[in-house]
Amino acid sequence: MDIISQLQEQVNSIAALAFNTFGTLQRDAPPVRLSPNYPEPPPNPTEDSANFAEQPKLMSAALVKAAKQFDALVAALPPSEGGEEAQLRRIAELQAENDAVGQELQKQLEAAEKELKQVQELFSQAADNCLNLKKPD
């Protein structure tokens, strides 16, 4: 995939990771005691707290890795020499050179085809002479 498409994919994946992180943490967070007036929240099954402690770490590590990947891709962009006008000028130069080389090629091709026809003509004459000079047995 070309570099710009990779960058676009990376942006989308950063967005997905960020919002998935918040969504998952919000959904799975164990209840927390807000004020001393209310009693302790009932203890929840242990399955939550075992995996839950590393989830923020894992997800934020993935997010940071994706951001670093994005920076690496940005660094891998080819240097943008000049601007639009410089590119257009280069295109015009290359077109002119292409035309010149094309015409040269055409000339050489025509000369080569002419020579080919001459050689073929001479060859057929020589072959005819050979056939005429060869005495039938």
Binding site: D2, I4, L7, Q8, V11, I14, A15, A18, F22, Q26, L63, A67, F70, D71, V74, A75, L77, P78, S80, G83, E84, Q87, L88, R90, I91, L94, Q95, E97, N98, V101, G102, E104, L105, Q108, L109, A111, A112, E115, V119
Partner: protein
């Protein structure tokens, strides 16, 4: 359920009755459309250009100007994005009801990022064109050299064979 028959074909076919004998007796095809046109109630334009962010009602975060340093702007937008993610995390802890503003700012940054990447595409197209032209020039030059070499080879062979026949 009511069914309707299809509309009849347009009556223009009669104009082409003598097309086989005289191709000029029939009307010319319509010229290509330029500018804006309306198709099935929607208006389209033949001038394909990326609409600027202001046209879509989105604030532009990176500086405008003739030549933008894409790498720098992309990196700074990335950092802004990370900062906003952290801000969102803080807001969710302390004042959870105010998430909307932060989420809106994050989506603004994403829109700017995508617009910046999209505006890189014409640049990429021109660079691809330059690359293709260079390759073509190189191939043509190689073909030119090849033809020259073969012609000289053929001349040499003919001279040799002439010398051989003369010496005979």
């Amino acid at each position: 359920m009511a069914t309707a028959t299809y509309p009849p074909p347009p009556p223009y076919y009669r104009l082409y009755k003598d097309y086989l004998e005289n191709p000029k007796s029939a009307p010319e095809p319509p010229p290509p459309i330029e500018g804006t046109y309306i198709c099935f109630g929607g208006s389209y334009t033949t001038d394909d250009v990326l609409p600027s962010l202001e046209d879509q009602g989105v604030r532009q975060l990176y500086p405008k100007g003739p030549n933008i340093d894409f790498k720098k702007e992309l990196r700074s937008l990335n950092r802004e994005l990370q900062l906003h993610i952290l801000e969102l995390a803080d807001v969710l802890i302390e004042r959870p009801s105010q998430y909307a503003r932060r989420v809106e700012e994050m989506s603004l940054i994403f829109k700017n990022l995508h617009h910046l990447l999209n505006s890189l595409r014409p640049h990429q197209a021109r660079a691809t064109l330059i690359h293709i032209l260079e390759l073509q020039i190189q191939r043509r030059k190689e073909a030119l050299e090849d033809i020259k070499r073969r012609r000289e080879e053929a001349q040499r062979l003919l001279k040799e064979s002439l010398a051989t026949l003369d010496g005979q």
